[in-house]
Symmetry: D2
Subunit: 274 residues, 4 copies
């Protein structure tokens, strides 16, 4: 959070001529700083632009999360069910549940970005110091903050109520030859250059597609025909669970790393809100 | 105004299966057209984007008019006084009148452009057909229209009450060597190429500046020393009133042309609103 | 396309004083109109804003089509395969094909909207007549037009090469109890109010979900237990192909209507480009 | 400046499975931090949005300075002359100098804000992790930075070459009854409530206007007739130079305060650039 700056004593024409104690009052009221130019203090709206720009960026992240939830809750993905109360029935289709809340949060990104454009456009080419134009900086500021706070609050509830379909997720992980990258990386740690390793894996995916099976279901002999470096230990590399645990570095998805990161975040948030 | 298009019978999934008479109902209700695709009719917001884009452009013109009125009503220009009721006294400066209305109208351009950005951003990458995101197209649409109608209405009243200071305007026309372009054009119609004519006028402006007089006050001999083509008939070209009347072509400022254009506009507006 | 307007004879200060024939030259050069005010002709950029606003709207439609193609070509939807040459392999995942072209076209919407904001912001509060600011209206104008033309051209090729998976689409139509709306509409044409019809269909969907079958697979007796108005003729309503053909009204999806609309569009486009 | 964050080891699918030393490499290369999630590291563009938002805000301040320079260099204000090389002659008006550089810098605000809108719109509703859309975040990022750096550099040269007309500025300070606020403040420190003081000053301005003189030129008797609290010591309050020096508080315009603030800024800038 930026430091609070006391503008006391500033005015549109100039500073006050009366002998006030700017430092003393600022200290008593808990301001950490004084404005350094009386005309700038009147005409400046950096605090509004900075706050709304941060709100637009945060809302942009929410729109990306919302998009994923809309996607994952479709009948085709079916990774997750949204909690009741965050969806609405269709007035036309009796069988349909619409992801109303993620769609509205996704749309609010347009609104907050619109507020940011309003602010920057109102300020463009305004001469010093106060102009009535500045009155039009109030509404976009409050609208952006209200939109973001509402979106954050409702998404927090939504996320808490998500019901992931583990069986379906395991099935999805096993489909689409997802372990092709693992196969390439397996070859890399056997000393094969990545370019050839990538080619080998690509060729084997094509063979699997032609055979109508997943890459992981090809017999070892087929793999070895494409690359003699492949040995029986490849099986361990083609197990998705082990592929995840192998990524055991900071920021990686190995279970221990994810749990540690969650604990770090909880502690950090506790510090800020506690 | 775009033709009114009847969406009757459209639905988010598909058209209605019930045998309705789309053409008949549209005709009875005064629609001039039917939507041509039931899913497009549900998901399309072109009407909103087109209306708000037109509103933003119109508000942009108002901002330019407003800027000129703010400028012309400064103490330094002093070309025009704004009518009371469209200005406000300064709470700080007892002698000051602030052009509140033009400044607010100028600022509203940011607001309507913000509405347009909101609309376009809400629509970005929305799959067919209805998504709850579309609910967020209502507010920017109404906000843009309300902002524009309010701005148009108040600027109409403001313009009617403008009090131009003719004496000051005449004085301004006589200052700043405004007739230098006339002098160049005078030489052009005497057969001098524009490049040399422009140079001659520029040199004479510099001599006038050095002498502390207006270009029009230089003696004929001085003009002729710079360009022998100049004769006594130049006097008529250096008279601002005659310079205006000389521009007697469609779109030009000659009095007759301006009066005719005003009459045409009044007639056109009468046709639309009468 | 807006009428071409000849600005000949306009200038930043005023019109030309030389006796030119504006109407004659405009006619000879194929302009359909004259600018009506010489200063407006110099300072006005409506043509640029209007063109770029139309480009942004068109690009917004392309972004929605692009989103659907990205979605439909995922492994989970698998409705369509994009033509080679419009996709790219993943440098990381040997098995993966990335929908590069639809994703780039989707992104260009941000670019063209950015151009529109640039234009409107440059124009905000510009006094008459010419200001150097107007130089900054050239780049966004050309950038928007180039982005749109490029996107249209590449999407035309992409759409021509789409390979829809009919079997998968038929399967998708048969899933998700899509005919629940049909069931409700069936009841409506039997005289049941829509509210009750919607409830009946909803209840039967829940029974189908509990039984692990599609709505269309429930036995007639189960349907009749929920609504005695249901007769054996309901079978025809629960056939998706017949559901489509039942929507035989202008703008509807019945095969004849779609074919007729395609012919109309081809004829219209032929008129414009022929 | 935000801390540099090393993304090494991140990938669009997940982190690398190879045992690299993220902390060690980051330290060796001078990064102060590691990215905390491999998929976020690939899809995140906060660094671009934050930088371009800051650039838009900075460019907005430049547009306000540019507007003042355009205004102050008009013939009507005539407060300042812009240095040659930052202006251009008019191709039409031989006597005219156009403030090309401030006008272009003013316009660039539209450009940088357009870049910001492009970025936020490209990011809207993008699912994890990498999408080709992100390629379209490069151009607005570089364009915004180039526009801002160019504007800052040219405005620095322009400001250094400004030639203020002190005589004209003194005359402007003496006009427009600028000391009316001083008169009100004089009364306030005599114990008169500000509301009455403001009224008294306003009434006396009207008397001065009627008499065709400046407020400061009204005889003491006239002032006292309006407010008996006014004594001969008012003369000192109506001297503009003394009015400025009376504002001797942090951020105020008293000469000592302005000099001290300039020294502080020079020291601060020296620290950063030295």
């Amino acid at each position: 959070m930026p430091p609070a700056v006391s503008p006391l004593g500033s005015g549109a024409l100039a500073a006050t001529p009366h002998p006030i104690d700017r430092e003393g009052v600022a200290k008593d009221l808990g301001f950490s700083n004084l404005s350094r130019n009386s005309m700038d203090a009147v005409g400046d709206r950096d605090f509004a632009v900075e706050l709304v720009a941060a709100a637009a960026l945060c809302q942009s992240h929410l729109s990306r999360l919302a998009e994923e939830l809309v996607l994952w809750s479709t009948q085709e993905f079916a990774y997750v069910a949204l909690p009741e109360g965050y969806c609405a029935g269709s007035s036309l289709m009796p069988q349909k549940v619409n992801p109303d809340i993620p769609e509205l949060v996704r749309a609010k990104t347009g609104r907050v970005t619109g507020d940011l454009v309003t602010l920057l456009m109102v300020l463009k080419a305004l001469p010093l110091a106060y102009n009535k134009d500045l009155q039009e900086t109030q509404e976009p500021l409050y609208d952006a903050v209200d939109s973001l706070l509402g979106s954050l609050s409702i998404m927090a509830g939504l996320v808490r109520g998500l019901d992931f379909d583990e069986a379906r997720l395991r099935q999805a992980v096993g489909a689409g030859h997802l372990v092709a990258t693992e196969l390439a990386d397996y070859l890399v740690q056997k000393g094969v250059p990545f370019r050839r390793a990538h080619d080998v894996a690509g060729n084997l995916v094509r063979q699997a597609l032609a055979a109508g099976v997943e890459l992981g279901a090809l017999p070892l002999a087929t793999l070895q025909a494409e690359a003699p470096e492949i040995g029986p230990d490849v099986a361990e590399w083609l197990d998705p669970q082990k592929a995840i645990d192998r990524r055991d570095l900071p920021g990686g998805p190995a279970r221990g790393r994810v749990v540690a990161e969650l604990e770090r975040l909880e502690k950090d948030l506790g510090k800020e809100t506690g």
